[in-house]
């Protein structure tokens, strides 16, 4: 079964690199998100779309 599953695959080191990358990426992102960012920063960032233009209402320009 194992032999069948791995037929044509002789690059096991590639799998290990992939697994390592996978763990490093998620550990880093999780640590960064949960520990390195303050609530104030998150609040400000999340409001960026709301602060990004002068009005959130459609304009009602005058007709010529």
């Amino acid at each position: 079964m194992k032999q069948l599953g791995l037929s044509y695959f002789t690059d096991l080191h590639v799998t290990l690199i992939g697994l390592l990358l996978f763990i490093v990426v998620f550990a880093t992102i999780s640590f960064w998100v949960l520990k390195m960012i303050t609530t104030e920063q998150v609040d400000r960032w999340s409001r960026l779309p709301l602060d990004s233009d002068s009005s959130s209402e459609p304009k009602t320009g005058s007709h010529p």
Partner: protein
């Protein structure tokens, strides 16, 4: 006329308006062509016996128009609008914006013309020939320079999460397009990909799946993270979750391509890899969906009265449904039932109509009044659009689910003696034709809703003032002079280059690990011992097969499943398609698999079948191909084709390359004589029908079976 501001910087909304109008125009074209394709499957005379309008050419036009013309223009409209406001600066270059817009429209028109004329690479969603592939690259680079230039002059240090999704889109689409489109030209509109067989299959579905991921998902997620907070007037539910959503999605998506090739000749390890990563995608996808929906906390009452929110919320719900169904379909046992059936078509349209379509509609209803300084003509019409469109999608979705599951179950039905209950493939087709009519009804309703939108927008624009007040960029302290005490925390999201490099690494990690081992397959296989390459006439016929889009309805891949082997013969092997530039495994069986059709019928049968399939199979829904007995084969170009194929590694000797035309003419005379003896017209020896018959008769006859 636009009112200019001599001192203050204003946003470039002219480009956004252009992309919005282009979205509406191309959306209508894409949907109508889709409806025609749906009707052609329900009632074959809708092919009109015209080569430019046959299903094999219409279907690639529909998919390309829906993805790159409709969704593409929508993405660009949303990105240009939100990027300027999130970064508090005008786009980097008006000239580049304009070149991007007009270049993309020229590309769409060129794609439509060439696809209808039969110029095709034969690879789904990547059908365009090499000159257009180069043109796509050029336009994409212009877009990228304009976008990253805007990032470099931004006045807001933090790149909001929507911008992250846009960066991932630009980088990854570039990588996917370039790698999948490496090809060697033969003539102005003919080329062969450097990849072949299993390599081509893996690269193509790595591209195909991630075209969905990075053209139809990540940019739309960016738009979701911008437009839902704007429409609901509330910040995103959890910004922390959006960060995890982004990185998880970007890292995982790229691995999932092999789930399109389950039970095929692809090595099992790659299939399992694709399945597992597809299942893992459940987590980030649903994290994103929940984040989008919960943004409406405390504002759900607005959904009742605001059509914009109705569209956006329903779009996110469809995103949730599609990203639940996708991993489900990637489970090998589910794929065994669903693959090659209309269940996949249902899944795809749930995503494109529900997720991409409704998000685009919500975005346009939001943008138009703001871009044209007026108010929407009729909220009530928008409500009608929503309900009619939603009904259309539901009818479409359910009919194709029913058709797919019905056909999948019929294909695998085996009696107590181990024989197929429905051995004639046509039985499984006629059973679902009524559902094709129902699907066409669903599509027609979706278009009816869209026409209401076009009318509504047209009336809105007529009311708009001639003099537009452009929105002024808010005054902001220039980025270089801003001070941030918490800089150590903000390096990642502040440094565009570092961020982009990390995205590239995340994307390349999965890509290399997945594709690299298959590039070395030739070390383990000796194809010379087992497979013979196609003859010159067979190659000419193969090019006709690709040009007519036969791969759209016929697979050439017998899966390692009992029902496939019982119906079509021994399972396909890696060796059999080793020299196929491009591979033609297909993804849908509207007609039967052709991997072993060679020798199954005499040449005359194929001739009569191509002229009028109903002469032989009265219930057939296949179009007629009368032009194939009129159009001549270009024998002389075969030398060039064989020279290219030899350079790509197909083991042709010098004599075959130098005399490809003569060898082909000899074989054609033999087949034409056989046809004439059977009662076919004389003088077919230089016609495309003979080349196509030669190719069909060669399928499964070149060795490579165990």
């Amino acid at each position: 006329m636009t009112q200019s501001h001599s001192l203050a910087e204003v946003y470039d909304d002219k480009i956004v308006r252009s992309f919005v109008l282009a979205t509406l125009f191309w959306g209508l074209i894409a949907f109508i062509v889709g409806l025609l394709a749906a009707l052609q499957l329900a009632y074959w005379p809708f092919n009109f016996n015209l080569e430019w309008l046959t299903y094999g050419r219409i279907r690639p036009l529909h998919t390309n128009a829906a993805i790159f013309a409709f969704a593409g223009n929508a993405i660009f409209a949303g990105i240009y609008y939100s990027t300027q406001r999130l970064l508090k600066t005008r786009m980097f270059s008006d000239l580049l914006s304009s070149l991007h817009f007009w270049g993309w429209q020229i590309l769409i028109v060129s794609a439509a013309v060439t696809l209808l004329l039969g110029f095709s690479m034969g690879k789904e969603y990547a059908e365009l020939e090499w000159p257009l592939d180069i043109f796509i690259t050029l336009i994409w680079v212009i877009f990228a320079v304009n976008f990253f230039g805007t990032l470099s002059r931004r006045k807001e240090k933090h790149m909001y999460v929507a911008i992250w999704f846009y960066i991932a889109t630009i980088i990854t689409v570039a990588v996917l397009h370039i790698v999948n489109s490496i090809e060697i030209p033969v003539s102005t509109f003919k080329s062969y990909p450097v990849w072949s067989g299993i390599q081509d299959a893996l690269v193509q579905w790595w591209y195909g799946h991630n075209a969905v991921a990075f053209f139809l998902t990540t940019p739309f997620l960016g738009l979701m993270y911008y437009f839902i907070p704007k429409a609901a007037d509330r910040p995103v539910y959890s910004y922390r979750l959006s960060i995890i959503h982004f990185w998880a999605l970007v890292f995982l998506y790229i691995w999932a391509g092999p789930h399109h090739l389950l039970y095929t000749a692809l090595p099992d390890w790659a299939q399992t890899l694709g399945m597992i990563f597809s299942l893992m995608l459940w987590a980030p996808s649903w994290g994103g969906m929940i984040n989008g929906l919960l943004t409406l906390r405390g504002a759900w009452h607005k959904v009742r009265t605001e059509p914009i929110l109705k569209f956006l919320v329903t779009a996110v719900t469809f995103y949730g449904m599609s990203t639940f169904e996708g991993p489900l379909l990637s489970i090998k046992s589910v794929s065994a039932l669903a693959h090659y059936t209309d269940w996949i078509i249902a899944h795809v349209h749930g995503g494109t109509l529900g997720w991409n379509g409704f998000l685009t509609f919500g975005m346009i209803y939001y943008l138009v009044p703001r871009l044209w300084n007026t108010q929407l003509h009729s909220k009530k019409l928008a409500e009608w659009h929503f309900w009619i469109g939603l009904l259309g999608i539901i009818i479409y979705y359910i009919s194709m689910w029913a058709a797919g599951i019905t056909q999948g179950l019929m294909w695998r039905a085996v009696d107590d003696k181990g024989k197929l209950v429905y051995p004639d493939f046509i039985e499984t087709v006629t059973r679902i034709v009524p559902l094709y009519w129902v699907r066409a009804l669903g599509g027609a309703l979706f278009i009816a809703g869209f026409l209401l939108m076009i009318y509504n927008i047209w009336k809105t624009l007529r009311k708009a003032p001639q003099t537009r007040k452009e929105e002024i960029v808010p005054q902001q302290v220039p980025l270089k002079t801003q001070t941030h005490p918490e800089t150590s925390h903000r390096k990642l999201e502040g440094l565009v280059t570092v961020f982009t490099v990390l995205v590239v690494l995340a994307v390349l990690a999965g890509s290399i690990i997945e594709i690299y081992p298959t590039l070395s397959l030739h070390n383990y296989i000796d194809p010379l011992k087992r497979t013979q390459p196609y003859s010159p006439l067979e190659i000419a016929g193969r090019d006709v097969y690709i040009s007519e889009g036969c791969y759209v309805c016929h697979s050439q891949m017998i899966r390692k499943l009992p029902e496939d082997v019982l119906r079509f013969g021994p399972a396909s092997t890696i060796e059999e398609s080793f020299y196929d530039h491009p591979f033609q495994w297909g993804s849908k069986r509207t007609g039967p698999d052709l991997a072993r059709v060679g020798g199954k019928y005499p040449a005359l049968w194929h001739y009569r079948h191509m002229m009028n399939p109903r002469d032989l199979i009265p219930q057939s829904i296949m179009p007629n191909y009368p032009w194939l007995e009129q159009k001549k084969v270009d024998f002389y170009v075969l030398r060039k084709k064989f020279s290219v194929l030899k350079r790509l590694g197909v083991p042709y000797d010098e004599n075959t390359v130098a005399n490809a035309d003569k060898i082909a003419e000899e074989q054609a005379k033999t087949i034409a004589a056989e046809l004439k003896n059977g009662g076919a017209p004389a003088g077919l020896e230089d016609k495309e029908i003979v080349a196509l018959i030669a190719y069909l008769q060669a399928l499964g006859k070149k060795g490579g079976t165990p």
